[in-house]
C-alpha cells in the first residue's frame, strides 16, 4: 500500500470524510468542530503541496478512480495548472478558516457551528474536486456541491436580505450549472466521451459543428456566470455583501477562481485554441467582455458607499483580468492570469477579512463611517492599506506582479487596447481604494500630538496574526516573486504546450 499514490483522490476525500464527522463531533462538543475543520483542510493542503512538488519535477499525474482506465472510469489528472490552483485554493481556505474563527464566532450563532464548518468543508471539497478532476461530468457534480454549500453559507448571515441574496444566487447559479450540463451533454452527444483528454482528441475532426459550437457557448456562458463577469455578475455583489464576512472572504478568494480555472482548462486543453480562433472569434469576444468587466466593475465600485459592495464590484473587475489573460493566448499573459488567481485570492481574501473585523467593531458597512479607523485599529488599517496597494498594483506587491505579466502578454500578442484597459482600471482602482484609505486615516478628530484620542477597538491576536501573515505574503511575493511566477509560468506552459493533455 503506497499512500502517496492515492493522494490525488485523498485530497478530496479526506476532507469529505470530515464532512459527516463534524456534525457528529458537534453533538459532543461544538468547540472541536473548528479544530476538526482545520485538520481536514490542513491534511488536504499537505497532500496538495506534495503533489505540487511531484508534478513540477516529474510531470502530470493521472489517477484512475476505482482503477478503471479512462475514458471508462473517472480520471483525476493533475498538471502544473491545477496543482497550482489547488494549492492556492487550499491555502486560502486554510487561512480563511484560521482567520475566520473569531469572525464566525461573532457572526454565526454557536449552535450552528457544527453545520457551518461542515458546509464550509464541503465548499472546499467541491472546489478541489472541480479542480482536480479530468472528467467533465464530475466537474458538474462538484460544481453543484460547491454551489449548494455556497448558497447555504451566504444565507447564514443574520442580515435580513441575506436569504434573498442567496436565493438569487441560487437561481442564477443553477441556471448556469444547467447550461453547463447541457453543454456537456452536447459534447458527449457528438463524441461519446466525458473524459477531457479523450474529448480533446475526438473533438478535433468536428471543427465547425454547430453542436460543438453551441456546447462551447453554453459552457462558456455558464462559467462566465459563475465567474461573475460583467454583465453576468448580478448575483455577486449581493451575495458578497450580505453573507457573513468570513464567508465573503473565502468565497471571494476562491470560488470565482475555480471558475476561471475550468474556463482555462476548457479553452486550452479541451477545445483547440485554433479551432475557435478560426471559425468564430471567440477569443475576441471574451477579450471584449473581460475588458468590459474590468472597466465597468471598477467604475461601479467607485460609486459604492457600502464597503463590501465596493469590494464585490472590485472582484467583478479583477476576475476580468484572469479572463483577459486566458483570452490573449500567450505564455506571458497566461502566466499573469494564473499569477492573478494567486494574488487576487490573497488580496481579496485579506481585504474581506480586514473589512469584516472593522465592520464587526464599528457596526456599519458604510465607508463614511470608517473615519478614524487608522488610529483606532492601527494593525487592521495598515493591513487594509497593504492589500489595497496590492490590488491597485503598486510595485513590490503581488498585485503588481500579475499585472506586469499581463501587460507583457498584451504587448507580445499585440492587444494594445487591453494595455489601456489594464492601466485605466489600475487608476480607477486607485481611486476607490484611495477613498477608503483616505477616510480611515485622515477623517475623524485628532488632537495636537496626533495620538489616538478615541478608544482603541479590539483587534484580537487570533486575527491580527493571520492578517499580518497574509499581508506579509502580499509583500513578500511581490518582492521575491520568482517562486510563484515560475510555478505560474510552468502552469501556463503546461496548458499552452498541450503536450500533457492531448
Amino acid at each position: 500500500m503506497n499512500l502517496a499514490v492515492n493522494f490525488p483522490a485523498l485530497l478530496v476525500t479526506v476532507p469529505l470524510i470530515f464532512v459527516p464527522v463534524i456534525p457528529l463531533l458537534g453533538l459532543i462538543n461544538r468547540k472541536i468542530c473548528w479544530y476538526a475543520a482545520v485538520l481536514a483542510i490542513t491534511a488536504s493542503f499537505a497532500m496538495i503541496m506534495t503533489i505540487l512538488a511531484k508534478v513540477s519535477t516529474e510531470g502530470p499525474i493521472s489517477y484512475h478512480l476505482g482503477n478503471w482506465a479512462p475514458p471508462i472510469g473517472i480520471e483525476y489528472r493533475i498538471d502544473m495548472l491545477n496543482a497550482f490552483v489547488l494549492a492556492v485554493i487550499s491555502f486560502i481556505s486554510l487561512v480563511s478558516l484560521l482567520f475566520g474563527k473569531e469572525l464566525v464566532e461573532k457572526e454565526v450563532p454557536e449552535y450552528k457551528h457544527p453545520a457551518f464548518y461542515s458546509v464550509f468543508i464541503l465548499f472546499v471539497v467541491g472546489m478541489t474536486g472541480m479542480t482536480v478532476t479530468g472528467d467533465l461530468f464530475n466537474v458538474y457534480v462538484f460544481l453543484e456541491i460547491t454551489s449548494l454549500s455556497g448558497y447555504a453559507l451566504i444565507a447564514t448571515s443574520k442580515k435580513r436580505y441575506a436569504p434573498m441574496a442567496s436565493f438569487n444566487y441560487l437561481v442564477i447559479g443553477t441556471l448556469a450549472a444547467t447550461f453547463i450540463v447541457l453543454g456537456i451533454g452536447y459534447l458527449y452527444m457528438v463524441t461519446g466521451t466525458l473524459n477531457m483528454a479523450d474529448l480533446a482528441e475526438r473533438i478535433k475532426p468536428l471543427n465547425g459543428s454547430s453542436v460543438v459550437l453551441t456546447a462551447y457557448a453554453l459552457i462558456l456562458m455558464g462559467i462566465l456566470i459563475k465567474m461573475a463577469v460583467f454583465p453576468l455578475h448580478l448575483w455577486l455583489p449581493d451575495a458578497y455583501t450580505y453573507s457573513p464576512s468570513a464567508v465573503s472572504a473565502a468565497m471571494a478568494a476562491t470560488s470565482t477562481k475555480v471558475g476561471a480555472y475550468v474556463l482555462i482548462r476548457l479553452m486550452f486543453s479541451v477545445f483547440d485554441i485554433e479551432y475557435h480562433v478560426g471559425s468564430v472569434p471567440i477569443t475576441g469576444i471574451i477579450i471584449f467582455f473581460a475588458s468590459l468587466s474590468i472597466v465597468m466593475g471598477s467604475v461601479i465600485a467607485i460609486a459604492q458607499t457600502n464597503i463590501k459592495k465596493m469590494l464585490a464590484y472590485s472582484s467583478v473587475g479583477q476576475i476580468g483580468y484572469i479572463l483577459l489573460a486566458a483570452a490573449m493566448v500567450n505564455a506571458e499573459a497566461l502566466t499573469g492570469g494564473v499569477m492573478h488567481i494567486f494574488s487576487h485570492a490573497l488580496m481579496k481574501g485579506g481585504l474581506f477579512f480586514v473589512v469584516g473585523l472593522i465592520v464587526y467593531n464599528i457596526g456599519s458597512e458604510r465607508i463614511s463611517d470608517f473615519a478614524g479607523i487608522g488610529r483606532r485599529m492601527p494593525f487592521t488599517a495598515a493591513a487594509f492599506t497593504i492589500f489595497s496597494l496590492s490590488i491597485i498594483g503598486i510595485p513590490l506587491t503581488v498585485g503588481f506582479v500579475s499585472k506586469w505579466y499581463l501587460v507583457l502578454g498584451a504587448i507580445s500578442s499585440g492587444h494594445w487596447y487591453a494595455i489601456g484597459v489594464i492601466l485605466l482600471s489600475s487608476l480607477l482602482t486607485a481611486i476607490y481604494f484611495g477613498k477608503v484609505i483616505f477616510v480611515m486615516y485622515f477623517k475623524g478628530g485628532h488632537d495636537d500630538h496626533g495620538h489616538a484620542p478615541a478608544a482603541k477597538l479590539s483587534e484580537p491576536m487570533g486575527m491580527v496574526i493571520p492578517m499580518a501573515f497574509v499581508a506579509f505574503l502580499c509583500i513578500y511575493f511581490g518582492i521575491f516573486a520568482t517562486f510563484p511566477v515560475e510555478l505560474a509560468a510552468k502552469a501556463a506552459e503546461a496548458v499552452l504546450g498541450g503536450v500533457t493533455w492531448k
Binding site: P23, G66, V119, L122, M189, V190, T214
Partner: protein, 177 residues
C-alpha cells in the same frame, strides 16, 4: 407515436404549471409533469431514471414544495412587469432557443444506432459489465462501480442539501440554554 403524444402533452402541462396563479395548482402540475416525464423515460427504456423521477420529481420534491407552501401565501400576486422589462425575458429566451435550435442541425438523428455515443465508451460497459462487476443491471454497475466517484459526489450533494437545510432552518434546541 405515443412518445410524441406524451411529449406534446408535457409542453402543455409545463405551460400550465408556470401560468397557474394558484401555487398549489402549479405544484400539482409540476408533479404531473414529472410523472409524465417518468412515463416518457420508461418509453425510452430508461427505467432506473424513470423510477427515480417518479419517486423524486413527482413525489418528494412536490411534498417539499407543498410543505413549504403551507407556511406562506398560496397565490401568486405579482404585478406584470412593465416597459422593456416585459420583453427582456422573451428576448433572452428567444436568443437561447435560436442557439439551441441551431445546435440541433448537426446533431445525429434521434435513435440513430451509429451515433458517436453508441460507438465509444458505452459498448465497453455493455460488454463487460456483467463479468466485471457481477451486476446484470448495467446502469447500476456504471453508477456504482465505473463511475462510482460521481455517485460519491451525488451522495455528498444530497448530504450537502440536508446539512444546508439544517443550517438554514433548524432552531436552537429548546432544552439547551
Amino acid at each position: 407515436m405515443i412518445n410524441l403524444m406524451l411529449l406534446l402533452f408535457l409542453v402543455v402541462i409545463a405551460i400550465a404549471a408556470i401560468q397557474a396563479k394558484d401555487l398549489l395548482n402549479s405544484i400539482m402540475y409540476l408533479s404531473v409533469y414529472s410523472l409524465f416525464m417518468a412515463l416518457v423515460w420508461t418509453e425510452l427504456n430508461a427505467v432506473d431514471v424513470a423510477f427515480t423521477e417518479a419517486a423524486v420529481g413527482a413525489g418528494v420534491s412536490g411534498v417539499f414544495m407543498i410543505a413549504a407552501l403551507t407556511r406562506m401565501n398560496r397565490f401568486e400576486s405579482s404585478r406584470e412587469r412593465t416597459g422593456l422589462g416585459k420583453y427582456f425575458p422573451m428576448a433572452v429566451v428567444a436568443v437561447t432557443a435560436a442557439m439551441l435550435f441551431y445546435a440541433t442541425v448537426d446533431m445525429p438523428a434521434y435513435m440513430d444506432p451509429e451515433a458517436p455515443i453508441h460507438k465509444h465508451v458505452a459498448p465497453y460497459y455493455i460488454e463487460h459489465s456483467e463479468h466485471e462487476t457481477g451486476s446484470v443491471n448495467i446502469v447500476t454497475s456504471v453508477l456504482a462501480s465505473y463511475r462510482g466517484f460521481d455517485t460519491l459526489g451525488e451522495t455528498s450533494v444530497v448530504f450537502t442539501a440536508a446539512i444546508s437545510v439544517i443550517l438554514l432552518l433548524r432552531r436552537r434546541d429548546k432544552n439547551e440554554k
